[in-house]
Structures are given as structure tokens and as C-alpha cells.
Amino acid sequence: MSEQDRPKHASPERPGLAALRGRLEGARGPEFWRSLEELAGDEAFQELLHREFPRQASEWTEGLDRRRFLQLAGASLALAGLACTRQPLERIVPYVRQPEEIIPGRPQFYATAMTLGGYALGLLVESHEGRPTKVEGNPQHPASLGATNAFAQAAVLGLYDPDRSQLLLKLGEISTWASFLESLRGRLQAQRSLKGAGLRILTETVTSPTLAAQIRSLLALYPKAKWHQYEPAGRDMARLGARMAFGRFVETRFDFGKADVVFSLDADFPAAGPGAVRYTRDFTDRRRRRDGRAAQGRLYVVESAPTLAGTLADHHVTVRAGEVPVLAQALAAALEVPGVPRPAAAPASPFVTAAAADLRAHAGRSLVLAGEYAPPEVHALAHAMNHHLGNAGATVLHTDPVEAEPVDQAASLGELVGEMRAGHVDILAILGGNPVFTAPADFRFGEALGKVPLRIHLNGERDETAEYCHWHVPEAHFLEAWSDARAHDGTATVIQPLIAPLYGGRSAHELLSVFTDDTPRSGYDTVRDFWRGRTGTAGFEAFWRKALHDGVVPGTALPSRTLPLLASAVPEAVAAIALAGAAEAKASLAGQETCELVFRPDPTIHDGRFANNGWLQELPKPLSSLTWDNAAFIGPAAAARTGLVNGAVVEIVAGGKSVQAPVWILPGHPDGSMTVTLGYGRRKSGRVAKGAGFDPYVLRDSTAPWLLPKVSFRPTGEHRALAATQHHFNMEGRDLVRVATLEEMRADPECIKRMGETPPKDQNLYPGFAYPGQAWGMAIDLSACTGCNACVVACQAENNIPVVGKEQVLRGREMHWLRVDRYYQGDPEDPETHHQPVMCMHCEQAPCEVVCPVGATNHNSEGLNVMVYNRCVGTRYCSNNCPYKVRRFNFLKYNDETTPVLKLLHNPDVTVRSRGVMEKCTYCVQRINEARIDSEREGRDLRDGEITTACQQACPSQAIVFGDINDGKSRVSAWKSEPSGYGLLEGLNTRPRTTYLAKLRNPNPALRPDKGRDRG
């Protein structure tokens, strides 16, 4: 793709792209901007900027007259008197027989794992007297290494969700497990004589060895029964690509720790796929040599919509999803992979040529990645390129499949639907998942399901599929049930429960046992017996205890295998690309209101399974910063051409089906393309998910699960308010995020420091304050931050931060103590994107402290800027005076203190704040205190690294480090002394304790841009 081929339009009456570009060109130096409105100098944006809390943040939007004021003042006085009640009596309820291992008041940690798409992420879960409150990563688990993603962090809220399915239902009426067993037993007897000809099991992707063994024994008992799998955001593309390349299903995993040059073909490796958390860590560890001396790795990204990988890239190009295969072929041709002709459609671009040269120069130490959602031919070509470069066996490891039974899932579900429609299915057991909502629209799954005489559904939520089934069995949460699962490298983990099922839920193991055993067995027995069968009885107890303790079963990682590439792989892939290219040419997207439609799982609610999780709904989505909604993402060029604005509702029409979606303009999104995320628009769900977003599944086809080559869209004239947080708590475009290239750093190590002013230490009217003991500080590496937002949810879980809801987010009242700001740099059509986590800076000379009339915020002896909730009277002066906009005010009573099950969720070490109280990041002071008390009780000094903040612990790329800055040998001191270190708004002489390391990029000298831009 080159700049010239792209159609550019700018309507004269709107501030078009040309005007925005003009604005950028008029500016000196690198210009950073947060949104298109900011760049355009929009009036509404200015209003947002100049008010402490944006529009309508105050309760009274209309004027207040004298009479109203007196009424309110009188009422407040009267209520103030009423509010003083005596402290209620509290009960202490000790154990009757106290378990030996429990010390009341001290949490315990248990190793377990969470699965997403079937693959395990190892976890350590904190339990307070038997109630899980916080999830951490398991440092011994290969997919985690101690870090987590946002989904895992939000798992505890999923457990305590009051809207979870709590009752076993028969045709929507309350029933019992016993009557379920009874009614099933007769039908199963009949099936036994038919050898199970009418019995079908539908699962999601299964890596659990125990579950697979159970299903296999079921298939042995009912030889004509069938097992189908379907995962809406599954890995069919990778599977089919591996089959094209190697003739069979093969698992591919990557060793980013050995890769110097990485080329991503629409692969969002920090966000998507089974190894994402681990890959992020390996990738940043490899690059974490910021001294400018050693050669840093380089990342090239081709993306079809802005991705996290693209924001990390040293070079990225944006193309439509339909153009990715051609680009893959162009790269393969430039690498001289045998049998790959140069594609006719794409002229040789300097980007591809330079990247190919770089990859070849690092043969064996490079990596070509194909996106999870890129078509199979791209995967096959990526395999061919890695083989050609000698990466296979070095940075690319092929193993046997991790999945128990890899299949083409779309075909598997299609076969099931065909049989259901033909009336061959008598009993269908749906073990997890919500296929009525998520199945490809062309299957009309719900309709076919109606033809099955007995339909059983196991899920944790009373969802769309439950409505279509005779029996709905509430599924136990993974923190409530025994199971096992495997990680991306095959390592097995025994999933152990932290709590007994809150609502009598059952696991898939227990439900399957009904089919195979005369007396149904418990999940514990099933899982334990499976592993006993594996290891033998001798020494089993020791093995079992160690496996549970460590959270990994030793020796279960799959060995790497050397696989030859099929001779047919490359020709087949090239032919497929040519075919798709021809279709693409025919589609001709030149028309006014047509484009390709790209589907992606949602970054926070995935395929819809987390839709009822308030933490994930309110988590600003990386890059778009939307909350509580999905949107149809379009690029600025398309917006300028069609006159669409953020929130304008369009009707998207494809193949006779249509959906109405609000538009969101995403800088860097390619023209001629529209991206929608799945999982929203739930028709049957809990209270949280109700009414959020629209449902793109209705347009999704089994033949084109991730990309519809041509859809048309038409503005409806309606508008939907979208709660995006990108303007909230804005800091007025000062020099906040600093970026340099390695080359610039090498030439001038002071270049980062010079971008802002640092006042000398003695410049102060007040006498200085000494910190003789510890002085806590934090450093954040902007080069490492991927913007994944796991830290935000971790902070929310650790610090009892409430969910406020869409309407309150629209008023700018979200409560997250930690936000990840996103900055753009350069051309709106293809900007560089930078992430910057911002929380309380714990200024040594904090502007908030001096304005508090009641002394509710002040300094402690270690330099923490502390907030005393019980003193706070809610004047909000502190927030007004905070240059970083990190203080959050409880405008309403956001914390739910009445729903009984939600009381279990709270961290007992942190105060639950009520209405009218200011709050902010505390550096996880509860963790500092706990660690210090432990060290003092043991009579030793605190060790560096002993205290980790919640955000630091969750971070997959280890971008945050916390510690004692008085200790010269601590990691945080080392980071802070880097030449790229700087403080935010240091010119104000606030002396922030949290500082940043500038984002360092390593662009290829061969692609030196002439105008500060690098384009394909």
C-alpha cells in the first residue's frame, strides 16, 4: 500500500483531514494529541478541558435561586443532625472447629487457573477466611509468569455476580437435580440401545485432559454419539493454516525472548491468543535494554484496525483486512520464499523491502506472526516464511495440539446444525457457551435447536441459549469447581476451587458423569482419578499435593517437534490469496457507503461471556476508550467523506440482514473498512449487560467469521451517546508523553530530559522535608506499556473501587484510580499511538494538600500522599488543584453495601468509601503496611521487591516498578536514574514520586521518513 493509492476526500464544510494536517504541520516539534476533537480545537472539547469534572458533573445544572438554596441548606443541617448515630454493635463469629491452616486475618493463596478459549492462565487466588477476593498470576505458570490479563482480574466479580444463574430450571420453572437425573435416565436408557445415535455433546474448545477422557469414555459407551465443539472467538484460522502448511493440526508457540525482529501480519499478540500474557512479557524483556548501547529489537506491524501490537511497533502500516493476505505474499516474495510470486496487486513498497531485509539479517532470531483472525493462507505463508528464515525450532516451536480434539469448529457446528435440522439428534447437551447467541447467523442455530426433543444447557448465566433449552443447569464458576486445563505450551494445571458453589452449580465433569456413571461422581473424584490413572497409585498423594500447590503438573509441557512444510502449502496459500484478491477486486469498495466489515472479539467482554461483569463493562477499551458499548469503528477519512460523527447511528446491511450501530471514529483505522466487536447486544442477560451495545453476530457468517468483504451502510439520522473516557481528566496538551528513537538517545542522552523543565531541588519557599527511612516511589516504562488495561482492573479489585454505570461515566465520574491515557502523534489517518498509565503521582510538594480545609489529605513520613476518608468533607478543592487529575470523588453512593453476595467481594484491608468522599491511588498502602509489619515482626529490613502494588503485579509487560528510592540498589532507583527518565509536569515543582521512562523506538534506518512519517 502506498500513500498515493488511497482515496482521499475532505468535504469543504467540515474540518476535514486536510485542515487537521495543516494544524499539525504548523506546529513545531512532535505534536501529541488525544482525540480528533482536540486536534480540531472543537468547542465542546474546550469546555471539557476547562471544567474540573466535565459537563453536568454538578448535580444542579439549572441555576440555584435564594429560596432553593435556603431549602437545601436547611435540609442539609437537619440531615446532618440525623446522620450522627452510634456505632452499631458488631458480632464476632468464630469457627466451631477452626481449620488448622487458617490464621484469622491473614489471607491464603491457592494456585488454580482460568481458561479463556479453553487455554489456561495460571493464577494464585487470594482467599480471606474462605472467600476469594483477588486474583494474581502464578509466577510458576508458563502462560502467566505472575502476570494476568483484565479478564482474570475481573474473575472475582464474575464469581459474586448476583445475576448469575442460581437455579436449576425445567422449561423456565424451578426444578431439582434429582428430577433432572430422573428425567434424563429414561432417555439415556433408550439411547444406550441405539448406541447413542441421537446423542450429541456440544462443548467449547477443550484442553482439559479429564474432560476429554470423560467424553471419550462417553463415546465408547455410546459409539454412535458425537462430540462437537464451537468457540465463537476460536482459533479455526490458526488450525486451518497449520493444516494447510503441515497437513495436520499443529500447535505453534513462539519464543519472543529469542526474537530480535518481529513481523506481525495483523497479529495482536499482546491481546489475542492463548499465550498473550507470556508473549507480552518475553517481548518486552527482550527489548528492555534502554541504555542505547545494545541493539534493541524491532517490531513491524501490519494491522487492519488499530491494535495494541501496532502501538508498540517501530513501524506499522494500516491496510484493510482484505489486503493483509496480499501483503503477506509480498513479504514472502521479498524474502524469496520458494514458490511465492510477487503479487500483481501490490507494488513493491519500501516497508516490505526493508522489513524483509531486516528479517533476513536476523534469520533464526526473527519471527513472522499471523493474526489469530487472519485467514488460513496467511498462517500457512507465515509458517513458510518462518521455515525459510530458519526460525522454526528457534523462535517458532511446533508441538502436538494442546487441544484435546482439534477440529474445524465452524464445520463441526455446521454438521451438528444439519443433523439437528434433519431430526437425527434426540439429546443435545450444551456444556458451556451460548451458541444461540454466538453461532454464525447463517446456521440459524436457535431454529435448528428447536427440533431436538431433549436439550440440556449448562452455563453460569441464564442466557439466550437457556431460553431455548428444556433443562438449564447452573454451571459452577471456575473458582467453585474442580477441573484441569492446559496452557499454550501444553502445561497442565489442576483447577482447584476456592469456595463451595454459592448456588449449587455443577461443573461439566459432574454433568458428564450423569451420562457415563450409574451413580454420578463428584468433580473432585473425577479429576483426581484421572490423574491417578496417569501417574499410578505409587506416590500419587505427593504428586497431587505438589501439583495443586504449584499450580502446574510437572513434565506436561509439550516437546517441540521438527515438522517439514508440505510441498503443497505455498502454492495452495498463493492460490487462495489470488482467489480472495479477485473477489476483493470485484467487491470494489470505491462506492460512497460500502466497506468491508471486520469482526473482532471485544477487548473487555470478549465474545459476550463477560457482558454482565461491571468491571469489564466499565473498563475503557484500549484505543477507543469506550465503556459500556461497542461501536462500528471507522477511520477519519471515511468520517470526513460521509459526514458521520461519533455516536451517529448507521444501519449496516449485509446479505439481507442488517444491524444498527453507532459509529466511532478511530484515528489510524483504514478507509474502506469498518470494525465491530462481538459480545454486545445481549437479548437475555443480567442487569449489567442489559441494553449495552448492538449485536454484530447477526451479520456473521460461518464462511467469513472475521471479515465480510463488502457491506453497505447508511446513516439513520439517529444518535447514541457513547461513554468514552478519552477526554476525561485531560491535562491540556502539555508535554506529557515523551518519545525518542534509540538513535536520538545515542546521539544525545539528554534529549528526553530537555523536553521539559526540572526545577532545582532547593527551589522552595518552605523548608525541605527529610525522608530518613523508606521513600516510596514508582517508575513506569512507556516503552513497555501495551495499554492492555489489566492494571486498571487489578487496581479496582484490590482497592474496592466501585462501578458507576454508563450514565455516570458520561458525566465524567468514573472512579478508576488508575487510567491509561492514550496519545496520538502525527497524521490522524495513520498516527503513532502511545499509552501512559496515570495515577496519583504522590508529589513531594503536593498541590492538593495545601488547599484541603480539613487536613484530609497530607503527607506521611515516607512521602506518600495519603487520603484520610474519615476526615474528608467533600469540598473537592484538592481535585481542583491537582494538575494530574487523578482524584476521584464519590458523587453518589456507588458502593453497593446492601446486596449480600457483593459484601464478600471486598478487600477487608481497604476502607469501603461512601458518598461525598474524595479518593485516589494510595500506592496500595495496605500492602506496604502489611509487608512492613511482617518484616518488623521478623526483625529484618524490607527487601526490595517485597512490596508490589496491584497494578505492578498484574502487568504482563512489567512496565511498572515500585520500591524505595532511598535505597540506591533498588530496581526503582535504577529505573529512575535512566537517561530517559522524566516526571510528569515537573516544571510545576511538584516533585512527583511516580516518574516515567520515555518511550524509545528503534526505527529501521532504511525506512528513514522524509516527513516524520513512515508509510508502507
Binding site: 466451631v96 506521611n860 513520613s861 503496611n929 518488623e936
Partner: protein, 218 residues
């Protein structure tokens, strides 16, 4: 025009102004007195409990160590309340038919826990840690009083913030050797000298550390 106000009005108004000042001061004194009174703080008030447990009998009479029941006092923020099983350890042998102990036996039989009323109750925004106080040489009696002289348990001190700060500002007034922490009747010969020595020896943190808000509030 005659005077509207009689001359005595001058005296009366002077008196009223002075009296108002005293009245205001008096009112404030009453408010402060109420705030510090046992009515507000609960100091010295005996609360109803499921079993009228006597610390005097068990501690002074029988010589049972505090830690026999409050097991986690040295390791955790929470001192620990004995599970019913701990009571039954002895009471399966003695007073096995006492009507007073029926709730304990019932709890042990049925598995339903006893529900004690918290006597020393801090507000929810205060985070007190028993283990560190014990480790630094603060005796049980410093906060809980002479529990060995309490037939029924009550709160011995006000537990108001000024009371906490009193010790956090001058810890030497209350430090004792670690060996005497659980000795309720222990008295120092020269508390000041001993306290200062122990503060150094036990590395008690500085007053500015101990009086930082985040030491107790988070």
C-alpha cells in the same frame, strides 16, 4: 421623645453578652464531655454475650495464658476468637452439665458458631494490627486493662483517636519487655528509662512514622 429603653437595659445587655459567651463555652464543654463520655465511647460498659464468660476466673483463677484462646495475636492483625472446640477441650471434662455452658455445647454439637458481641470495636476505617503491637512490647493490659479482674468483659479505655495517639506520640510510656507482654499485672520500676531503652532495642519507629495517617487509616 422619651427613652425607649430603660437604663437597666445597659446592664442587662452587658450581662446577656457575657452570659452568652459563657453559655456557648458551656455548651461546647457539654458537647465535648458527651463525646468523651462512656455513653459515646462505650468505655466500661458491659455488653450482653451469649455466654457470660469470665476472664477473671479463667485468667486469674486458672492461669490460662491469653494465647491459649487468642491464638493469632502474635501473627495476625486479628487476635483471634477461640472456636467452640477450644472451649470444649476443657468443658468436655468439667462443668459438662452446666446450663450456662449450654450454648457452647450446642454450638459444638450442631456446628452453628457462637455469635459474640465485639467489645473493643474500632471504626471500619481504622486498621489495627495486634501482632505488631505485641512484637514491639505493648502489653495486653495497656489497651485491654486488667482483664484478669473482669468477671464480665468490658472496654477498658475510650479507644478514641486521641487515646491511640497518646501512645503513638510517646510509646516509651507503655513499652515493656516482650517477655512481660502477656503478664497483665506487670509494672516497671522506672518506666521512662526502660521505655526509652526498649524503644531503641525493639526498633520502634519514629513518632513521625507512628503518627502518619496511613499508619492506621487506608
Amino acid at each position: 421623645m422619651p427613652q425607649i429603653f430603660h437604663r437597666s437595659t445597659n446592664t442587662l445587655s452587658r450581662f446577656t453578652i457575657y452570659a452568652a459567651a459563657f453559655l456557648l463555652a458551656g455548651l461546647m464543654w457539654i458537647v465535648m464531655a458527651v463525646a468523651r463520655s462512656p455513653y459515646t465511647t462505650g468505655q466500661g460498659v458491659v455488653l450482653e454475650q451469649p455466654v457470660p464468660f469470665s476472664h477473671e476466673h479463667h485468667v486469674a483463677g486458672l492461669g490460662i495464658d491469653c494465647r491459649y484462646c487468642h491464638t493469632s495475636v502474635e501473627t495476625s492483625a486479628f487476635a483471634g476468637m477461640p472456636p467452640s472446640a477450644t472451649c470444649i477441650n476443657c468443658h468436655k471434662m468439667i462443668w459438662t452439665n452446666s446450663a450456662m455452658l449450654e450454648p457452647v455445647r450446642a454450638s459444638f454439637r450442631t456446628g452453628q458458631p457462637l455469635r459474640w458481641t465485639r467489645v473493643n470495636d474500632l471504626p471500619d476505617f481504622v486498621f489495627f494490627n495486634h501482632s505488631i503491637h505485641v512484637a514491639k512490647g505493648i502489653g495486653c493490659a495497656s489497651c485491654h486493662g486488667r482483664v484478669d479482674r473482669m468477671p464480665l468483659m468490658y472496654q477498658a479505655v475510650s479507644l478514641q483517636m486521641e487515646w491511640c495517639l497518646d501512645c503513638h506520640r510517646r510509646p516509651e510510656n507503655h513499652l515493656r519487655p516482650r517477655s512481660e507482654v502477656f503478664n497483665l499485672g506487670w509494672q516497671a520500676d522506672d518506666q521512662q528509662a526502660l521505655g526509652k531503652r526498649l524503644a531503641r532495642e525493639y526498633r520502634v519507629r519514629s513518632v513521625s512514622d507512628l503518627t502518619s495517617c496511613s499508619t492506621c487509616h487506608r
